[in-house]
Amino acid sequence: MRLNPTLVFLALSSACDDAGDGPCATDTITLVDADNFSFTGLLDVPPYPTVDGADVEIFWDGVTDDIRCHEVDPTADVANVGIVRFPHLTEEDIEAGLATNHLLMSDQDGYVEFRPQDGGTSALLSEFSFFGTAFDLAEDYLSTRGSYLLLVSSTTTPGVGALVLAFLAPTVGETQDEVHLDPGCGVLDLEVDLASIEPVPVCRTGPWTADWSALTLDGQGNEIALDGVDSLMLGLYEDATVADLEEGFLDLETNATHLWTAPVGSSQTSLHLADTTDLEGQAFEGFEGQGLWLLALRCSRCYNPAPLFLTFLEPVE
């Protein structure tokens, strides 16, 4: 991309937006905190007490659905099983950090992983490793060393594609040396309010630029990490009510009549809607069709599957 140099005398100035009032006065759809949905997402990660400082076999053949309650084939869909140790966080702290996407790398002091081959659905902890460093169970898998979060994922990228979460709980005196993981559905308890959203009016004719640089809070009311936004989703839901969307909140992608998405780069805080494309690669051309128009900013590597921002758009003439 080449940009024309602009000569600016003495000081930089931005373009004037003196185009009158109303949604059609500008091509920018300015998104603000008041436009956002609200939601609470509580995680209830199951603990699995095990022997302390000794080997344990982990089985994920029972993982037949994920935290979004989507079906899982444990022999085909699991790309990585990771274990993260948090030396100073309780299980409750970790659940809260996962739900709000606020865990830092410096919160952990150890990570090991296992990548299943040939449809395998179990592994011993002694088979886990990272950067060539093996899991020294006698030294590193102890109740005194912290909390152990186990993640079964569909990708090898941290945070992306989490299917199931569990706590391994090495316990002195415990004799259990097998962990049979349960399905993921039910771990995430969502309460979503879409009904309170005041739709953002947008001009029916383009162009349109969504600008979310003014956002400060996510849907949970926490400080929003704008760098976490990695895609924008625009969906049309014909013959659907707001209640229907709340009911199928974890299936917003699959339930859309027509869906357009676009990747969002790091530090990017605006996007032309014409840059979104549907599954066939066709670019968004306009608000054609009747129904609910939904715009969401998503974070694919967040452990919480809810969008960081979600609102309805209301096309007007």
Binding site: M1, P5, L104, M105, G132, R145, S266
Partner: protein, 440 residues
């Protein structure tokens, strides 16, 4: 988008008076399509002058390219270090008979970097250091963090190899990084990679079995740690060597661990990872010597470059310098920095579950090292990598690498600035500079 030249004259002025100036013509700024935070600026002048560009995201600009080496009428500058997706400004500076004349300001908007980059959390402030540092974990590749902890340069390494070290190159126009693997077996397809700042030129120099670290010397020779297997008691044993890559591409083994020590007599810890397990390399130009860290020996060794002799070592199995009683002893250390009269060491395991930085001062004849300073965070353990860097004024940058944190600490041990990665992302080694460009 069609390139358009600015047929504008930019006015240069020495301060605010009206001294005649050399006008800027045919000015063009191009945002890189590969690294969209990099802007290439070209312009012409009617007479030959030496120039540079001052630029930045704020009113005070704050960054400057190096001065051109020779006076010319056709100018070219690459702006590195601008934040992503941000309207920035730049101005041209001419050195006219020893007088700096500045142009008006021009605006340019950078593009967004990859969505795979982690969210960084920055606390504190008043930092002035730049960091060429790779990301590991959720994303792999070389990056540049500005003094505010923003990613201002990023190029994903999609080879499947890790990246441990990034350095701006002597040429002032590119970076080097290593693409290799220290996870398990080293990689046969590892390479030292040179990338132009704008990302459009990539040169991969195959160096099989690369380990963690490399340096570039003043004549452009690269030197890297390379794993070297030899038979020992009927089995291949993993040792290390230093390989130099001359500017013409010639590769030469200039040092081998096998020539300094005998594995029958000198044994380290954790033999499952190999014998010496070298993991850090520095070059001292004044001494023409290498300093090499061996994890499994927990030793830092001085190597005479010309002879390959292991002159002396600090710490661990092959240490020849005594560590004074009461001083901390490092274990499985990674990077280090020699100062005027001592050394800073990133000590991964010597403090138990908390990694730390130890500083020692040598006595006059370098026979004893005495601990003079330490910094630790009881919450952080870095099991691999880690690097300290002492700044002018006495502050220290601590790169906790897989601990996901880079921080600035004052001499009293107070953390004044830190940047932390989200869970799942780590830093490699950290090349700390006072600007985005190479500094001697």
């Amino acid at each position: 988008m069609t390139p358009v030249r600015a047929l504008l004259l930019a006015f240069l002025a020495p301060g605010c008076d009206g001294t005649p100036s050399v006008p800027v013509t045919d000015l063009e700024s191009v945002v890189s399509e590969v690294v969209p935070t990099v802007v290439t600026v070209t312009w012409a002048t009617s007479e030959a002058v030496v120039a540079r560009v001052e630029y930045g995201p704020s009113e005070d600009l704050g960054i400057a390219t190096p001065w051109e080496e020779e006076a010319t009428t056709s100018h070219h500058a690459v702006l590195v270090g601008l934040p992503a997706a941000t309207e920035c400004a730049f101005r041209v500076v001419h050195d006219v008979d020893g007088e700096e004349q500045v142009s008006d300001r021009f605006a340019v908007t950078t593009g967004a970097l990859g969505a795979e980059l982690p969210t960084l959390t920055v606390t504190g402030g008043n930092n002035d250091t730049w960091h060429w540092v790779p990301f590991l974990g959720g994303a792999y590749g070389p990056a540049l963090l500005d003094p505010e902890g923003r990613v201002t340069w990023w190029l994903p390494e999609n080879s499947g190899l890790d990246v441990y070290r990034v350095r701006p190159a002597l040429d002032g126009a590119s970076i080097f990084f290593n693409a290799g693997s220290v996870s398990g077996d080293p990689a046969d397809d590892s390479a030292l990679v040179r990338v132009s700042f704008d990302g459009t030129r990539v040169e991969r120099i195959p160096v099989p079995l690369l380990a963690h670290d490399f340096v570039e010397m003043d004549d452009g020779t690269l030197a890297a740690i390379v794993v070297e297997y030899r038979d020992f008691e009927g089995e291949p044993l993993r040792g290390d060597s230093i390989v130099e890559i001359a500017p013409d591409g010639t590769q030469t083994v200039v040092w081998s661990a096998w020539d300094c020590w005998d594995p029958a007599e000198v044994k380290g810890t954790d033999p499952q990872y190999g014998w010496t397990f070298a993991n850090a390399l520095d070059w001292a130009p004044d001494e023409d010597a290498y300093y090499l860290g061996s994890r499994n020996f927990s030793s830092i060794v001085r190597i005479d470059r010309a002879s390959g002799a292991c002159d002396w070592a600090l710490g661990g199995v092959v240490g020849t310098v005594d560590i004074a009683a009461g001083s901390g002893r490092f274990l499985h250390q990674h990077q280090f920095e020699f100062t005027e009269d001592g050394v800073l060491v990133f000590d991964n395991d010597g403090g138990g579950s908390a990694s730390r930085v130890l500083e020692y001062r040598f006595d006059a004849d370098r026979t004893t090292a005495t601990e003079t300073w330490r910094y630790t965070d009881p919450d952080l353990h870095t099991f691999v990598l880690g690097e300290p860097r002492r700044l002018e004024g006495g502050d220290t940058i601590v790169d906790w690498s897989v601990g996901g944190r880079i921080e600035r600490v004052d001499p009293a041990g107070v953390s004044t600035w830190r940047v932390s990665t989200e869970l799942g992302y780590a830093f490699g080694f950290d090349t700390v500079l006072s600007s985005p460009f190479h500094q001697p």
